[in-house]
């Protein structure tokens, strides 16, 4: 008898059917396994929460989400929180697809990069009614404007006061100083020594740098010049400050612009404001640090500011206030660094920074608004802030967070946090409208100006002057804002028309069937 061939059509068809059955069953099988492995009885409300903080790639995030979920579910036995990690780099694309698909998120963490446009596209639910209904709650549980530091409560609302997100973090750009280098220099230089705080007995506190350690831009140039070290051949052995030209122009430019009294854009998102005198002064200042003072390492795409800083090759870098924890981790426990805001420029006044607060939002397709709001409120409450700080080491956006014993203990254990609250408080609003499109227009110009500053100043560069280059870039960013606002207005008009139409249909239907009048139906979207 001939042996049955593995390639016989019947067998192939059977295998194909088996594969098909497994694929079709996949969802149900997962549900079955979830039921079997569940700790308790099934929970009727499932809350889908999206985040880019990944439990699978970061143990700390894993611990944070595990405790957050366990605590929230214990207090809300009917709710099952299901986290989905979505990579930051393609968050928006996946979100756009999910929001028109069958399993949209109910709640997600939104970066300020997309929050405003997500709202204007119609993805986010306004939260004002939910905030108003919480007025009776204790202060530590409320998540209204009064609960947060003013710089945290900016990116989460429109100019007319519609709130579409609740801040769950606060971060600000700052100057991070290597205190080992400063302490060494302070031994012989009273000006460097004066950058440190004083203890009660009047001696120098080498663990803490003063918040206003740098008076102004000229003072910064002097200090950085002293901290840079050159070899016998005149080559830089240790840089004073890092300027990264390739691809990240606005990142270094914007906080210095803020300290010079300028803004990247207006609050309404209709105009770019960096093209004027303050912007030009900022660009000249940065370029001169590199080209005239020569206190920066060479422009290299592959060099990362923080890596140089951690290796002790530079005295000062620009970073976020959150960077401290990462520096400690990457240097296996080194904590002798400190943070300050940016000193004022010739047209500025006072220390400044740029601040932003990523937020939790509720989507317009959220099926369980009550559960979603409870989750947002818990996560952004004082308890949620402390939980996040305990697992992730981050400071919180709430006012009452800074009065807690936990924060005071953190300040003692990690002196580099000492100026963080003040830095956040002097923060201007980080730019927030169509950042990628604006970067596409402006960053190559910043890059060119930094890379070829001497040519531009000599009149032999790609631009007639720094001022003309910035004005041209700002005009192009204006176009980005104009197009975006036109688009957003058309989306809003379309939604208004749809709402009016569904309202008319609803009126007709409710006349015949009172039950349908209370069912929001698809128009809820």
């Amino acid at each position: 008898m001939r042996a049955r061939s593995w390639t016989s059509p019947a067998l192939a068809a059977a295998l194909a059917l088996l594969v098909l059955a497994v694929v079709l069953r996949a969802g149900m099988t997962r549900a079955l396994i979830a039921r079997v492995t569940a700790d308790g009885p099934p929970r009727p409300v499932q809350l889908r929460v999206w985040d880019w903080w990944s439990s699978s790639t970061n143990e700390e995030y894993g611990g944070y989400f595990a405790e957050l979920e366990a605590t929230f579910e214990r207090r809300n036995p009917d709710v099952d929180v299901v986290y989905q990690t979505v990579p930051f780099s393609n968050y928006v694309q996946k979100l756009s697809a999910a929001m028109v698909g069958p399993t949209p998120p109910d709640v997600f963490q939104s970066s300020i990069i997309w929050a405003e446009s997500s709202y204007r596209r119609g993805m986010l639910r306004p939260l004002n009614d939910l905030l108003a209904a919480d007025a009776h709650l204790p202060a530590s549980q409320r998540v209204d404007e009064a609960a947060f530091l003013p710089p945290a409560w900016r990116h989460n609302q429109t100019v007319d006061g519609t709130v579409f997100g609740i801040p769950q973090i606060i971060d600000a750009q700052c100057l991070v100083w290597n205190l080992d280098i400063l302490e060494e220099a302070a031994a012989t230089d009273p000006e460097i020594r004066a950058m440190f705080s004083r203890l009660e007995d009047g001696t120098v506190d080498y663990e803490h740098i003063r918040f206003d350690a740098v008076r102004d831009w000229n003072h910064f140039r002097q200090l950085i010049g002293k901290l840079a070290v050159r070899g016998p051949d005149g080559q830089l052995e240790r840089a004073g400050y890092v300027i990264h030209a390739h691809g990240s122009g606005a990142d270094i430019f914007s906080p210095w612009l803020a300290s010079n009294g300028g803004h990247y854009q207006d609050l309404a998102g209709t105009r770019a404001l960096f093209g004027g005198r303050r912007g030009a002064e900022t660009m000249h200042f940065l370029a001169r640090l590199y080209w005239t003072d020569r206190v920066c390492p060479p422009f290299r795409r592959q060099l990362f500011d923080r890596e140089l800083f951690q290796q002790g090759k530079v005295a000062c870098v620009t970073a976020g206030t959150w960077s401290g924890k990462d520096i400690v981790r990457d240097t296996m426990g080194w904590t002798h660094f400190g943070k300050t805001a940016f000193p004022p420029g010739p047209s500025g006044s006072g220390q400044r920074s740029l601040t932003w607060g990523n937020m939790l939002v509720v989507t317009t397709r959220c099926r369980q608004v009550d559960a979603a709001w409870k989750y947002v409120r818990f996560t952004c409450s004082l308890e949620g802030n402390l939980l996040r700080s305990r697992h992730l080491g981050y400071n919180g956006p709430r006012r009452d967070f800074y009065d807690t014993e936990q924060w005071q203990r953190a300040l003692t254990e990690r002196p580099y946090l000492s100026n963080v609250k003040q830095i956040c408080l002097v923060g201007e609003k980080f730019r927030h409208i169509e950042m990628e499109a604006a970067n596409h227009q402006a960053n190559p110009v910043f890059e060119s100006l930094l890379l070829h500053y001497p040519d531009v100043v000599d009149g032999t560069g790609a631009y007639p002057s720094v001022e003309a280059a910035l004005a041209g870039a700002a005009a192009n960013v204006d176009n980005v804002y104009r197009r975006y606002n036109e688009q957003a207005a058309s989306w809003e008009a379309a939604r208004d028309r749809a709402t009016a139409a569904s309202g008319a249909v609803g009126d007709q239907a409710s006349a015949g069937d009172p039950a349908r009048a209370s069912d929001p139906g698809p128009a809820e979207r």
Binding site: N90, V92, Q93, S96, A97, M99, V100, S117, R120, R121, G122, M123, A245, H246, G247, F299, R300, R301, Q302, E434, E436, A437, H440, Q441, N443, P444, E447, S448, L451, A462, N476, N479, V480, R483, Y484, Q487, A488, S490, W491, A494
Partner: protein, 281 residues
Amino acid sequence: MPRHRLLRTLTPYLYIAPAFAVTATFGLVSMGISLWASFQHYDTYAGASGFVGLDNYRRALTGDDSYFWLAMRHTVVYVLLSVAGVLATALPLAMLCRRARYQSLFRTLYFLPSITPGVVLALVFYHIFGIWGQLLDSAWTALPALALLGVWAAAGYNMVIFLAGLTDIPRFLYDAAEVDGAGRWQQFRHVTVPMLRNTLVFVTVMTIIGSFQVFTSVYIMTSGGPERSTEVIAYTIFLNAFGVAGQMGYASALAWLLFAAIFVFVVIQMRVFRSRRVYDE
């Protein structure tokens, strides 16, 4: 028509039906939607918000803040470098490989980059170029550096195709040429190249199409910089489609302009090759 003849006529169509269904659903329908979107203001979530006629095309071709022509110029330079590079490496590699003792080993080694994800290659080369003198830091060297990566990644795949073409060339043609006194170079010029013409056409067309669509290396390694020197058309399309709210229509118009450019290039190339004699039919 008799039943068996009908079945016989239908059978080939039934065989190609599944593949056609996939192509139609994920290719033709998507292309149709993108063509429609190119005449709209379109957002991936909010949907279409108005017919704009040829405005998106006009903006791409003549807009003050359009980078279409700049991106197209960079793309064409990249294509030329890639085609020249691939032909200059894949064919010699194939000829060397054919003579090599462990042919299958070399074939496998050279083919490896083709099965390695582009993201991984880009990350590896990002660091290699950094160590080798900052090729990605200068506007003059960044695009050639990306083309070098493209050639390195594509050489192995095209080598295998050339190898298959070389294997098909009858041995007696070389013997006859040798008898006629032809040296190595003359054998290559008068036997190998003409007999590989179809393979050359295939490799060139595929390299042109692939190079026009270069994206991963630009996205990972340079983000279009420094100073826009590596901004290629696929990157511009991606940025507008997924990085800017409401610009999917404009991005679709850019994509159709790219399609037109590739079409023109390929048609020109096919005509150039068709004008010659065919040896291997």
